[in-house]
Amino acid sequence: MALTGQPPREISLNQKLASITGMLGLTVLLLASFGINFQNKGLWLTVSLGLITAGILWFSYEQYKGKSAGIKNDGVWFKSLTNLGFWGWIAGLSITTFYFILYFFPKYLGLVEGGDNKGVIALFDPLSKALSGNPASQWFVYGALYTIAILAFGIKFMWKYRHNRYERLRTMSVMFFQTAFAFIIPELMARLNGTSVLNGGSLPYYDLKNIWPLNYSNFEGYRIKGFLSSGDIGFAMLIFGIVSIFVITPFLTYKYGKRWYCSWVCGCGGLAETAGDSFRQLSDKTVKAWNVERWIIHSVIVFVTLMTTAVIYSYLGNDTSKYWLTKSTFLIGVATLLTAVFALVMIFKRDQLKKDAQYGAIGYFVIIISLVLIHFYSGEGNVFLFKSGALRKNYSFLIGSIFSGVIGTGFYPIFGNRAWCRFGCPMAGIMGFQQRLFSRFRITTNGGQCISCGNCSTYCEMGIDVRAYAQKGENVVRSSCVGCGICSAVCPRGVLKLENGPLEGRIDSNQVLLGNDVDLMNLVNQK
């Protein structure tokens, strides 16, 4: 007789069949990438994607059918896929491999430069041609699979949280934004290229909801040319790109916190919340991980700011008579903006920053400004000691590919589903900065009802130790919180509520544990 527990860690027979169904769909793709030439590509593509979707949906149905609505985390830590066990590592390695090939060796997927596609990319040609009129690329294949993952696992997620309307609506939202904004609209826009609508210009591929600095390449020379050569529509899109950064994002983040983006709109977040939901418990909650997180993410922000400045700088001219925005005007502008943000925070919000955060902010500010100054007085050539092209290339390789793709998504089963959003995403970092200091959003702790059980912390994909706040009766106001709402959902005592309210008293750093008598509360709150 076994002395240790043997909880149900196996999946049911039907779930195994469902997994096989999905795997069959993947096998078609795999065979195609190994060079099997399917004759009727449209049919085989439909079969493949259909089987994948059906497999996921069937699996989900088997998992949640006949169970009453409620929290469905039974056995999460017993299953090898979700507790860093054998299948978790296998899954992690497989996804990582896929990303490596996708980013660095697309020819193995069948990409042929200047010729007809082969392999799995060719299999997607019919769909791509139907949408944009062009043959598929590795990015089209990736986009199509990405969208299917968000849709199918999105339905699974909604099943799982069917008692929770916040979760359902949020998921419908990311499903919509992925399908429409990230996948279909840019493809359809490509059909306009060269038409009279665009004055004969050609729009760059533009996912409108993908905002700088997540979309770090939005202001590169070739894109700006594309926008400016495409008539009013192109110009409007460029303006929209700028307005998104300076108006829309700060406004919505002030009103609702960064969740409006991270959990309702963003594609990276969308995949993390749907396909990655099973791995949310794997994020590291230690204080050490939090310290690492703050240094990495803020360094990425500095990196992307420098890189973008350098790239824009590189294609601007010096002659004011040709265009009002010259190299030096631009640099002065950037320096002024950063100084203004730095000064405002240091003057008005200094007391809300920890010591090391203050040092970090001062350090980075000095670095950026001195680089700008060095450049300003040293004239042409390199920007910030490096060639802008080198900066851009390194950023795109290190952050854009390795971090967000290979590690961020490939390691879902190892580091949890939001490793990229937490450690790497500069957009999340900037919005987080605002969320912490200037936003109406908070997670309210419900008086003294916390029992320190730890469900909230365990299921926080961003690695926030939610319980540390809740058990003190303190509200959770954290930069990294993406507002997924799962802490509130899994709380067995109804302690946590995501809400927008007045800034006054939002952080609530006084410990208020209701139920105590008033004298005691005063004594406890004395620091």
Partner: protein, 449 residues
């Protein structure tokens, strides 16, 4: 430096230690026989269910204790020698104290049932009970049926745990409806139905007569008192309440009743010895509270209070308005103020009960039948804001006022359906009033001026 020794590393003892450290530089030693580190007892169930690993239910990282100079000693206290101010640990070591805090919690009740100590019979309270459950009921093959005796909060949690591994469960409840010594009938009925929805074999009005052994001294079956029915099973969970864990204090000279007798300052009859949490028994009950309150929150409050007293701010234990919460399978329960069951309620306590037509949601509002003064509320499946109800209780609001402002108190996640309109309509119908619900006001909720 004064030497503070705390027996027990549960929420009461740990709260005391944390607050003593905040307020002073005294030496703090915590003795526990149960585990090396503090864990959340209420979360043990989630470890068995696979929602969390044991390490997740430990609220502080392991470095926390050393950093805060809280010494943790693993050992069992056999005896308290009050004359020499020392403890006997593991029958071998002595540990001196200047001040002693007893926070040893509870142990499951056993009422002398025949067979109650057989292999396969257990309670669910400690980490050891959890480990035992992994042996007695690791899966549905080893444990083909489990019987749970006692229809309270731990009983229903144990049922939920076993069901998560698809182990068939028979649930013997002494009362004729689940927990109706505490819950009003409507709510108790709602939970009865929900228990059946989870495929638990609920036996109301059923007592345990005896537990029958097989030839190896293991549980084979149980016999129901009322019907004489024999139910074969491999595991029996005894969850008929808990009582203070104070056996080691017999003959110590510390006054004992059911628990360690304490005054309002949480002091025992022996100088420099205090008792807090589940194991403390008030000489006189405080308000409507019971003299022994085996509740997480009161453990925490007593810990905070006794820390003040020990650090020089002598402070009476004066808990504020009563509140509590629990979860019955999928249904969350919260209570603020006092709502008594039909069995326990006083003559002037009037109830208004609302239940959703299809979903498992209900509330019961208790108020004074003459003055309309709000006494308390129970909610099932609807979350309420603690701060708001606490304020309303302090302000002495009427039931009518609560009804009109119910939206202010709602704590459900955003976009959840609201039921205030339906609730107030039912209240109007029952009382012949024509109150109108007020819109939710952030100004009122957050007390903005």
């Amino acid at each position: 430096m004064e030497n503070i020794v705390i027996i027990g590393n549960g929420i009461a003892g740990i709260s005391a230690a944390r607050h003593i450290r905040k307020l002073s530089d005294k030496r703090i030693v915590i003795v526990s026989a149960e585990t090396d580190y503090f864990f959340s007892r209420t979360a043990l169930m989630y470890v068995y269910m696979g929602h969390m690993k044991f390490e997740h239910i430990q609220p502080y990282e392991n470095w926390f204790w050393e950093k805060n100079r809280i010494e943790l000693v693993r050992g069992y206290v056999n005896k308290v020698d009050t004359a020499n101010k020392q403890l006997l640990l593991d029958s071998s070591r002595a540990l001196h104290y200047d001040k002693l805090i007893i926070a040893t919690g509870s142990k499951p009740n056993k009422f002398g049932w025949p067979g109650q100590d057989l292999h396969g019979v257990q309670g669910l309270y400690s980490k050891q009970d959890l480990d035992m459950l992994e042996i007695n009921a690791p899966n549905k093959e080893v444990c083909k049926r489990a019987v749970i005796v006692g229809g309270g909060l731990i009983g229903i949690e144990l049922a939920e745990m076993l069901r998560s591994r698809e182990i068939p469960v028979t649930f013997l409840v002494r009362e004729d409806s689940f927990w109706n010594g505490v819950l009003p009938n409507g709510e108790s009925q709602l939970i009865n139905e929900h228990i059946l929805e989870h495929h638990i074999d609920l036996r109301l009005g059923a007592n345990l007569k005896e537990i029958v052994a097989d030839e190896y001294g293991r549980v084979k079956s149980i016999i129901v008192q009322e019907t004489g029915e024999e139910i074969p099973c491999d595991m029996v969970g005894l969850t008929a309440g808990v009582s203070p864990n104070i056996g080691f204090l017999q003959d110590s000279g510390i006054e004992l009743g059911r628990g360690v007798k304490v005054n309002r300052f949480l002091e025992t009859n022996v100088k420099d010895i205090y008792a807090i949490g589940d194991c403390a028994e008030q000489h006189e009950p405080i308000g409507n509270r019971r003299p022994i309150e085996a509740v997480w929150y009161t453990g925490r409050m007593m810990g905070e209070t006794v820390a003040q007293t020990i650090c020089g701010n002598t402070l009476e234990y004066k808990p504020g308005h009563w509140f509590n919460s629990a979860k019955f399978l999928d249904i969350e329960y919260q209570t603020y103020g006092w709502v008594f069951s039909e069995k326990g309620k006083k003559e002037e306590e009037q109830h208004f009960h609302w239940r959703h037509a299809t979903e498992k949601l209900c509330i019961t509002l208790a108020y004074h039948k003459d003055s309309n003064l709000f006494l308390g509320i129970n909610t099932f499946g609807i979350r309420m804001r603690h701060e708001v109800f606490d304020r309303w209780l302090t302000e002495g609001r009427t039931a009518d006022y609560i009804m009109e402002h119910l939206a202010d108190a709602n704590f459900d996640p955003e976009f959840f359906k609201h039921h205030e309109k339906a609730i107030i309509a039912a209240y109007n119908k029952e009382t012949g009033k024509s109150l109108k619900p007020k819109k939710k006001s952030l100004k009122r909720i957050f007390q903005l001026t």
